[in-house]
């Protein structure tokens, strides 16, 4: 119990530190929302009018910084997130996030889960039959693909499956904009088809890591006494592989998986960018480009909260799963 309380205390402290950094770091960046707006409007508009407009939307550069900071902390917890002062000038942040979050969680989240499941399966089998055909081909191939840059894989996939094939698979957007969104088979089909290439990009580049760690864990576990014991009992290979070896080998991978779920929210900026996929990663890029403080703050809050919560759950899970964690605390 004391361990859990300490974890919780640590969580709160980290969250506060992260929130504080999220407030100050963007303001230390060069540039200001006024300059960004001025650039976006090609220096055609009056500087005074732009400053006043941003002020109307809640940008108060001359207010006391400490006061701004305290207001910010309060607003973050009460959900008064304000409106964008960047590319979506005037649009409520909650609305912007609500429109982008489901797409990122849907695309990157599902792709991450698929990559994990696929990687773990391949890793388990490869580790079981180490030196076999599967073991000598798949891990090697996927370790190489996981070293490739996201955007490059994305461009190759677009070239192969969209450009050279005359548009087999869509290369941009999250659904066909001529379809009215709704729970219709047409819309859902369009969403799935549009997700294939971006999801494939993430899976191809992420699966290698899971394969490698799972395979190595598997090999280490296979030399454990309890596996030898299972063999001595005459259990079937399948049962030993799944019930004795893989079940233990997957434990370290699970905590890694929990962590990576936390990072899902931050999206895959480059993947979203290349595929014109309107998710959180692209939003973050755009917010930084346009010095959009309100949007940046909320995005960073989401990202830190997601990772911290994932880590916290992971801590709790370890306590539940592993008696040694309880003993050392």
């Amino acid at each position: 119990m004391r361990y859990l309380v300490r974890r919780l205390g640590f969580f709160v402290l980290t969250l506060w530190a992260a929130l504080t950094l999220n407030f100050f770091i963007p303001r230390l960046m060069p540039g200001s929302p006024v300059d960004a707006l001025r650039t976006r409007t090609h220096n055609r508009l009056s500087q005074d009018a732009l400053e006043q407009l941003l002020a109307s939307f809640g940008f108060k550069p001359n207010a006391n910084l400490l006061q701004q900071y305290l207001d910010y902390l309060g607003d973050m917890f009460t959900g008064h997130w304000g409106v964008s002062i960047g590319a979506s000038l005037g649009q409520p942040i909650t609305q912007i996030i609500a429109q982008a979050l489901p797409w990122t969680v849907g695309l990157v989240g599902v792709a991450t889960v698929i990559a994990f499941v696929l990687g773990t399966l391949i890793g388990a089998v490869a580790g079981w039959r180490r030196g076999g055909v599967l073991d000598s081909i798949l891990p090697t191939v996927f370790v190489i693909t996981s070293a490739l840059p996201y955007f490059w894989v994305a461009l190759l996939l677009i070239l192969f499956f969209s450009v050279w094939t005359g548009g087999w698979l869509p290369h941009d957007f999250n659904y066909d904009s001529t379809i009215v969104p709704g729970w219709t088979p047409e819309f859902i089909g369009s969403v799935l088809v549009h997700a294939i290439l971006p999801a494939a990009t993430i899976i191809v580049t992420a699966v290698g890591g899971w394969i490698l760690t799972m395979r190595n864990n598997m090999i280490a576990t296979l030399s454990e006494d309890y596996v030898r014991m299972a063999r001595a009992k005459g259990l079937s290979d399948w049962k030993i592989m799944t019930g004795y070896a893989a079940r233990n080998a997957i434990l370290p991978n699970l905590s890694g998986f929990a962590m990576s779920l936390g990072f899902v929210v931050s999206g895959a900026i480059l993947v979203e960018y290349v595929f014109n996929y309107p998710g959180l990663g692209y939003l973050l890029y755009n917010a930084v480009q346009n010095t959009d403080y309100p949007l940046m703050q909320v995005l960073f809050l989401l990202f830190t909260a997601a990772v911290l919560v994932a880590v916290l759950i992971c801590d709790f899970a370890i306590v539940a799963l592993d008696p040694r964690a309880r003993a050392t605390s």
Binding site: P30, G31, L37, S46, A49, L155, P181, Y273
Partner: protein, 560 residues
């Protein structure tokens, strides 16, 4: 002065470009007027303009983040002024106007029979209301009409609206007549719109324009034709799709495959990537301003504040080669007089450019000038130039510039900076040379005033509004001050005189000409602006030009 009725002086011209025998496919138009042919209604066009954001579905025409999707489509100004055709004017909500002899007051006659898209009539009262709204809410006065241009009052009487200025104001006509969207008083004087006109979302805009917003989501805006539009027969196109493109890559691919018909951004290697994909794919990108090297004239920058060094750079550059290699030939070369050609040919004095020795690169002369300034093989000159990271065509251009300057003994370092850092350095004067394209205007005067007027400068360390090289010359200031109060030919002479100063003092060094990127597909859509009939600026981000183009193009398949 009566309003020139360009586009109403009809002359037959087979601009349709199809073999159709139907008379409805013939464009009846003056050679450079807004087409006013007779076409069947129908069809759809998809705009592929990278706005770099998902749509917020707000249409407040004064919000600079969204006004490109609002003005021209839904809201219209009083008069359309065509930059590309010697400021040819097409009357929109004002049917005509008259200036007072002293040029300090202008009286607009507001068009009869125009209806807002909710059915209410549009009147002079709405025009009066709009301009006074800008006065009441300075955040909306984005062209600083009440503060900078000296607007004193706007009053309506009958169907006339009179605008009174403190000083001759013809030079601001482009801004107040062509760029201020007229909004309906009965909508904007109640509720949220009246309380906060600057932050109001205006998600269901009521305007006089050819289109209304039918449906909007973060990915796409769909506009449909306004059935009660005041121009009879227009618009021909019934549906406009405007998807939200975040980056050039996906956008250009959709242009190449024909999914979108109207492109407005740079396509690298356009011949192979776009033009060769279909005989229906075309491009025409007219130049509007100059991509310019800004030397820092402040004495703290010893080299660039020396006239000989700037002259040497201007002499050493082979601008045609920079345009060809850096911009793939899609931008023309600029010239040292700062007049964008062929757009503003009327103001261009090629003889003066030749006699000043700037008509072709001259490396020997450049070396000579550098030697005079004290630089040579023993004292090489090191300079750096700032540019924005990600502008790949500019990077390519600067690579050629670097090569050409190396040939005369200048060692140029190209600094690729993030936009924010670049802006900061550009505005405060923290650079040797800066690569930048200023906004243009209906004549070269506007760009020259931005670059050269001493009131647009500021001491080093403080942000200058547009005179980034910190040029100050009382003679040029006087010329710039004189331009607004004279007419026609005298204005041309003034621009030529300022062009002479550009060559004498080399305050800025124009390198290539910034164009209005435009790609168009003619498979189904005809009536696009072309080199032969530049009736509006063709890139979809120009307001109000986008509305003029949208109400002039028509679908071939819809013609019976």
């Amino acid at each position: 002065m009566a309003l020139a009725t360009v586009g109403l002086l009809l002359s037959a011209c087979s601009g349709g470009g199809t073999s159709s025998t139907s008379s409805s496919t013939e464009d009846t138009t003056g050679p450079t007027g807004v087409p006013s042919g007779n076409h069947e209604k129908g069809g759809q066009v998809t705009i592929v303009n990278v706005a770099g954001q998902t749509w917020s579905c707000q249409f407040n025409p004064f919000n600079p983040a969204v006004f490109q999707q609002s003005q021209g489509f839904v809201y219209e100004p009083l008069v359309f002024v065509n930059i590309l055709n010697d400021q040819a004017e097409t009357p929109l909500l004002a049917s005509s106007y008259t200036w007072s002899p002293d040029g300090k007051s202008v009286e607009f006659t507001i068009r009869d029979g125009v209806k807002w898209s909710d059915g209410q009539p549009m009147t002079a009262k709405d025009v009066e209301f709009t301009f006074n709204l800008l006065k009441k809410t300075p955040a909306l006065d984005t062209y600083a009409l009440w503060t900078g241009a000296g607007l004193q009052s706007v009053t309506a009487a009958g169907n006339k609206v009179t605008m009174q200025f403190a000083a001759p104001a013809k030079v601001y006509f482009f801004n107040f007549a062509n760029q201020v969207p007229i909004v309906p008083e009965h909508v904007w004087s109640t509720g949220e719109a009246a309380a906060h006109p600057d932050t109001w979302a205006d998600d269901k805009p009521v305007g006089t324009g050819a289109f209304t917003v039918n449906n909007c989501n973060p990915n796409n805006i769909e506009y449909t034709a306004n059935p009660t539009y005041w121009q009879p027969g227009k618009p021909y196109i019934q549906t406009v799709e405007y998807p939200a493109y975040l980056d050039n890559g996906p956008a250009n691919l959709d242009l190449a495959t024909g999914k979108g018909q109207w492109g407005s951004q740079f396509i690298p290697n356009i011949k192979a990537f776009y033009l060769d994909k279909s005989p229906d794919n075309h491009t025409w990108s007219p130049p509007v301003t100059s991509v310019t090297l800004y030397p820092n004239l402040d004495p703290s920058h010893a080299a660039t504040s020396k006239l000989e060094v700037r002259q040497a750079i201007a002499m050493a550059l082979d601008r045609s080669k920079i345009a060809l290699v850096g911009e793939g030939g899609q931008e023309p070369a600029a010239n040292q007089s700062g007049v964008v050609t062929p757009t503003f040919d009327k103001f261009f004095d090629s003889a003066a450019v030749a006699s000043a020795g700037y008509d072709k690169p001259n490396t020997d002369k450049a070396k000579e000038l550098l030697a005079k300034a004290g630089y040579g093989p023993d004292h090489p000159l090191d300079l750096s130039v700032i540019t924005v990271t990600g502008y790949t065509d500019w990077d390519a251009s600067l690579a050629v510039v670097k090569q050409q300057l190396a040939a005369v003994g200048i060692n140029l370092t190209v600094q690729d900076l993030a936009q924010q850092t670049y802006d900061d350095k550009l505005y405060t004067g923290d650079f040797d040379l800066a690569y930048y394209a200023p906004p243009g205007g209906p004549t070269p005067y506007y760009e020259m005033r931005l670059n050269l007027y001493s009131k647009n400068s500021a001491p080093i360390g403080q942000p200058a509004s547009s005179n980034y090289s910190r040029y100050s010359n009382p003679e040029v200031d006087a010329l710039l001050d004189k331009y607004p109060v004279v007419d026609g030919d005298a204005q041309v002479q003034i621009v030529k005189q300022i062009g002479d100063a550009m060559m004498r003092d080399v305050p800025v060094i124009p390198v290539t000409e910034m164009v209005d990127w435009f790609q168009y597909n003619t498979k189904d859509i005809s009536g696009w602006p072309t080199e032969h009939n530049p009736y509006a600026q063709p890139a979809a981000f120009n307001i109000p030009d986008v509305g003029i183009v949208l109400s002039s193009i028509w679908s071939k398949s819809a013609q019976g």
